[in-house]
Assembly symmetry: C2
Amino acid sequence: MERIDTQIVVVGAGLAGLAAARELTAAGREVVVLEARDRVGGRLLNHDLDGVGVVELGGQWVGPTHTRVHAWIRELGLATFPTHDTGDALFEDRGVLRRYGGALPRLSPVALAEVAVAQLRLERMARRVPAATPWEAPHASVWDGTTLASWLRRNVRTRLGRAFFELVCEGLFCAQPQEISLLQFLAAVRASGGLEAMLETEGGAQQDRVVGGSQLLAIRAADTIADRVRLGAPVRAVAVSGDRVLVRADGVEARARRVIVALPPTLAARLAYAPALPGGRDQLAQRSVMGAVAKCMAVYETPFWRADGLSGQATCTTGPVRIVFDNSPRDGAAGVLLGFLEGDAARRLGALAPDERRALVLEAFVRLFGARAGRPLDYVERVWAEEEFSRGGYAGFCVPGALASLGPHLRRPCGRIHWAGTETAEAFGGYMEGAVLSGERAAREVLAAEPAAPVPAAQGV
Amino acid sequence: MERIDTQIVVVGAGLAGLAAARELTAAGREVVVLEARDRVGGRLLNHDLDGVGVVELGGQWVGPTHTRVHAWIRELGLATFPTHDTGDALFEDRGVLRRYGGALPRLSPVALAEVAVAQLRLERMARRVPAATPWEAPHASVWDGTTLASWLRRNVRTRLGRAFFELVCEGLFCAQPQEISLLQFLAAVRASGGLEAMLETEGGAQQDRVVGGSQLLAIRAADTIADRVRLGAPVRAVAVSGDRVLVRADGVEARARRVIVALPPTLAARLAYAPALPGGRDQLAQRSVMGAVAKCMAVYETPFWRADGLSGQATCTTGPVRIVFDNSPRDGAAGVLLGFLEGDAARRLGALAPDERRALVLEAFVRLFGARAGRPLDYVERVWAEEEFSRGGYAGFCVPGALASLGPHLRRPCGRIHWAGTETAEAFGGYMEGAVLSGERAAREVLAAEPAAPVPAAQGV
């Protein structure tokens, strides 16, 4: 068991943990980051396509309002390129395929009107929800006790209208409308700049990609504090005694004055704390659960659908793949179709053997893009619920009733223990932007609580 | 680090774990039970009132249909006595106190009729929910995507009618109707013999108490396998390799052929498993959360309310104490008022200093039973969310959307890892009866999977 003395321990080298560590390091503090995996980045994960480019098996997009991530991109010498967004999109409904040019598929006029009205209502309600403190919304308890499914049943009557919002819910939360409270949905909408901004590619949260893959954000950030990051060290226990914190990981123990736990709340609750955390904090963590998502990508010699005037984007009520993007590398040296399995589909197909899952995903691609889509050069995927140190994705959300009743515990420090992670963000929760914001906020808490910078006592890791 | 070789390891010496261990021992298998606390019983906890009797700070009641618990009571040489249930009950609504003699307080006739109709509807729906497999109910997905709060808003219009069902929900789940799906509510009703049976004292789940306190069930059961139970050994990790399981607790490692994890799912998920558990199992565990409850008891020289013709039972819409029982020891050597804090009230008051909480509870008792109730000889309580090895009570339940989508994972074994605990019971989940049933079922799974009884390799613990 190696022993390290430092000032601040950060648990987790995802974007949130790295943001906290960078901020603290910049303020002259000694930091050690303990990371369970043998890599940094958490839910960001690059995959090298044998020389033809990089695709991301985890989070990947950056929106124009994600200002902290854009600042990192500049600082770290990275660049972005636009998500491929030209050509017609496809909409598959009960086996019938339609292509369309605008923002929305040609649903029936009634469905379209309904969707517009419902979206307006949701946006209007969302404006009444304080982004950072949704539990203070006027009808917090009622909204948190109503699932999105219940709200849709009362406010959207057409099958296609409901299907649209189901796709929206899956696409944003990797969960079904049955699982999400209206308050949690509205809070996310409010905290992310509105539904439009969340759903759009150009001008929205899917606008840009990072050249070389989004994990470079974490890799480069970690490089700037490389001697402070310890990989392969899953943290198991946090013990606070007087003004000292002892953080125990496999193979290493770190002693510090404070700790920032930069994990999703459900995973943060799996550490053993001494003394035990307050009941309210634990009950909140029990009620913050991970969405279910699998990213599945088929790789072709070229993005052949572009020649047919297709954007490669598709939404399907049929499933199991319900949302598809052209995820080809920037230079077009290969064509990549990205299919998302989300919520129930991710759970159902996540339990299958890889071959069976691949066959179902390719079958969906063939229905959309023709027989050629069935003969990829390569196929890569990641089922995030299977990942021991993520247990789902994209992010965690609060189950019905939890946010209104226990929400303040999400980021309230427990003595010398501080909480980061995109789930705790005051804005853009669930996005990379939220992760960075949350880490920087936790770092500021620590700096405020430890205003003096004692003489560094840290050793190299 | 002590090393033990055995055939089966059981994690947790609550009723479920002890039931499993007894069953396996009776079948000639070598068992070791690893218990985190320095006592057995889990959520059963006796408290000795300085010689005047015993009260329970945890689960306590036994209903007439709880046949396995009654069998244990006989086998273990224990006895029951009836919960005090004579005299008038009290109903406090917005500060107005009413006493009543029947089963229901004198609500307005409209409210009474509404309650009757709604109860009938709920019972009727519950009959369509298979007790052991609620995810196979006809409208499972819709019912699981509707909170009880939403259902009540549509089906119960009077304030008092809603208040009644809110009390019911709190009383059964230690959670608000906002947190419980209709499917989870109906599943519990179905699995426990109907709402009447759950709510009644005489003839219902609160009918009897165990002489000497319910924890004696666990203590006596553990006595019968005393050399097999290891206290103060919180399990941290379970590693399966080939046909062997290694269970690592603080200070002791046990090697066996199989393990039964007899913890609430949310706590079971906090162990480190190698290999990692399937994603579906983990996602289900994330979505099974503990209710919030505090049991608060004031001790008086005598049960003075009985002389006034009061039963000591009360329900209050006012709060924070919403349900009150006469919990005096059998011989009446002392009077004990038991007030439950449940759901939001447990969370709110659970965060206060003990003195403040005590003052609020006694204030409620005074409103109900007069000034004398404000001067107890003693006051004892337990806030279960604060308990590191329970993290809430009475039991865990599945959050909206989880049961329909992930329910089968609740008790599906993961290779050599089996699941027990009242949350996994096929009937009477949440009750002591469910705990015993679940432990016995898990033991049968193990016996079926390991039909031959190899020569015992176990050493004493």
